[in-house]
């Protein structure tokens, strides 16, 4: 899919209008996963707006978002960057064989105290 | 036999402060539009009683257009908002009565928009001309 169609798809899935962004950077200022990301929340918004989705699709940043909704709550313009991250991640992992995490990966990542919630959540975020 | 070309009759209500001045500006700039358009000056588009529109159709008008200041720019603060709401109701009723939606129009023309006034009138006359003569509501006793 070319970037333009991808952009349309991401906007449709997320329901986000990146044009509302006034480029204040509060999303990135509030993001707890910032340092782990190659592209930061404000860049997601800007890159989706300018149609550069492919770079985002190939970035590990997709799996670093914690879905903590801080950027959604604190954005002064109601842009909701986390919804864009989610939409792009889904565009990626919905493709066959593109799962970021498989059942085989899990045992190595577990310890005995880890709550089920973590595994369920990670699966929901990382695989289809 | 060739049909005689129908010349539509258009009544345009223009508010004194924006649209009537816009029509004057179209004249100043010599921007042509069909002579079928006859302007009636009102202080504000909100002075246009739906009865006036009905009366025009009753007397054989083929189209009625109401022009006012842009939303938010009304000389009388909020008059054009009343117009917009009243005419939305009236136009849908007229549509129900069989007067095509295209025969009625509401347009915002500022005093600086002479070109918009001319373009709007050209377009409106062309649209109404395509629909042909308006027979609905026409009261033949008035003829």
């Amino acid at each position: 899919m070319n970037n333009k169609n991808l952009r349309e798809e991401v906007l449709r899935i997320s329901g986000v209008n990146p044009k509302k962004c006034m480029r204040c950077g509060k999303c990135s200022a509030t993001c707890p996963a910032y340092d782990e990301m190659e592209y930061h929340p404000h860049q997601f918004v800007y890159m989706v707006e300018s149609g550069d989705i492919s770079s985002l699709l190939d970035s590990e940043s997709l799996y670093r978002c914690l879905s903590c909704f801080a950027c959604i709550d604190r954005c002064p313009r109601n842009v909701e960057p986390a919804k864009l991250v989610e939409a792009i991640r889904l565009s990626k992992i919905r493709k066959q064989g593109a799962n970021h995490m498989t059942a085989n990966d899990v045992p190595a990542l577990l310890d005995e105290d880890m709550p089920q919630q973590a595994i369920v959540s990670a699966f929901r975020k990382y695989s289809k | 036999m060739q049909m005689k070309e129908h010349k539509p009759l258009i009544v345009a209500f223009c508010c004194n402060w924006c649209s009537y001045a816009g029509a004057d500006l179209a004249g100043n700039n010599r921007l042509n539009y069909p002579a079928e358009v006859k302007v009636i000056r009102v202080p504000c588009s909100c002075r246009v009683n739906p009865m006036f529109v009905l009366r025009a159709f009753q007397r054989g008008a083929d189209g009625v257009i109401i022009c006012g200041c842009h939303p938010g720019d009304c000389h009388y603060v909020s008059g054009n908002y009343y117009t917009r709401r009243r005419m939305a109701m009236l136009f849908s009723m007229l549509d129900y009565l069989g007067i095509e939606k295209e025969r009625t129009r509401i347009e915002w023309v500022s005093a600086a928009e002479g070109a918009k006034f001319a373009a709007t009138m050209n377009d409106f006359v062309e649209t109404v001309a395509k629909l042909g003569e308006n027979k609905r509501l026409e009261d033949l006793r008035c003829k």
């Binding site: 801080a70 989610e86 709550p115 973590a118 959540s121 975020k125 | -």
Partner: protein
């Protein structure tokens, strides 16, 4: 008073105490938690994608069950609460999604978001009342300095959760005060612990969790309470020097029923 109860996967396994104390405390407070039949896992996180339908159906089923029983739906786990409340909101605000979800479930009466969803804390505040709770306290916490840790899922997105001010919440502090504790307010109480990233990037989870704990200790806390099993796991796993317990544990303790329960 009877309410429908959605415990969730973790409360049946790693977080049994959260569940157990929630039920026992509710009993003391005159509330019966009626577990929904055949509930299914909520999925842990709500997906904000508008075209994701299947992943939200288990929540819709739980909501339907609550509606049919005519009772509010109560959850204890932050994650379940978040997913179910957001799903309920989507059923109200997103007609396209609601239509699809109802078609999938093809039941007699479509679900239109009518069930009322409460977090257990909201139940304490709005249905029981903190004043009534205070009267039931037998072992007051004697001014113990406790920091309430909300994490992210309990309060956000604020416009959907509508539980408390997402930046300046008071609900857990008010509960602590009702129980006779000294609520210590720490600024990081509504920052993320790292959540499920613990699997993918333990370093990030460690960083997030440690900053929360450090902040609580700097504020003078001797203990941290939380409503989320994953928060508790992350804080403890990453070496919190002060105890991190579920809010239901401290509740049961104050209500004087902790000793009755043997794990």
């Amino acid at each position: 008073m009877k309410v429908s109860y959605f415990p969730g996967c973790t409360l049946k396994n790693k977080a049994k105490v959260l569940d157990l104390y929630a039920r026992k405390s509710a009993e003391v407070l005159g509330v019966t938690l009626e577990e929904i039949d055949n509930w299914q896992c909520c999925g842990g996180v709500f997906t904000t994608a508008r075209d994701e339908v299947a992943t939200k159906l288990s929540s819709v089923r739980a909501l339907m069950a609550a509606r049919d029983s005519g009772q509010p739906l109560v959850t204890v786990c932050s994650a379940c609460h978040n997913v179910i409340k957001q799903t309920n909101n989507a059923m109200i605000s997103d007609a396209e999604f609601a239509d699809k979800a109802n078609r999938y479930l093809s039941c007699d009466s479509p679900y239109a978001g009518d069930a009322k969803v409460y977090h257990y804390l909201e139940m304490l505040r709005d249905l029981v009342g903190f004043d009534a709770l205070k009267e039931k306290v037998v072992n007051p916490l004697n001014g113990k300095k406790i920091a309430a840790y909300y994490g992210c899922l309990l309060l956000r997105p604020g416009s959907v959760m509508k539980m408390d001010d997402p930046e300046n919440p008071t609900i857990m502090e008010d509960m602590l005060r009702a129980l006779g504790g000294d609520a210590v307010i720490c600024g990081k109480r509504n920052e993320c612990c790292g959540g499920y990233i613990a699997m993918e990037s333990p370093t990030l989870a460690k960083k997030s969790s440690n900053s929360v704990v450090e902040n609580a200790i700097a504020a003078g806390a001797e203990m941290i309470i939380t409503a989320c099993p994953l928060c508790r796991y992350n804080l403890i796993k990453n070496g919190s020097p002060i105890p991190v317990v579920y809010f239901t544990e401290i509740l049961a303790e104050a209500l004087g029923i902790k000793e009755d329960i043997h794990e």
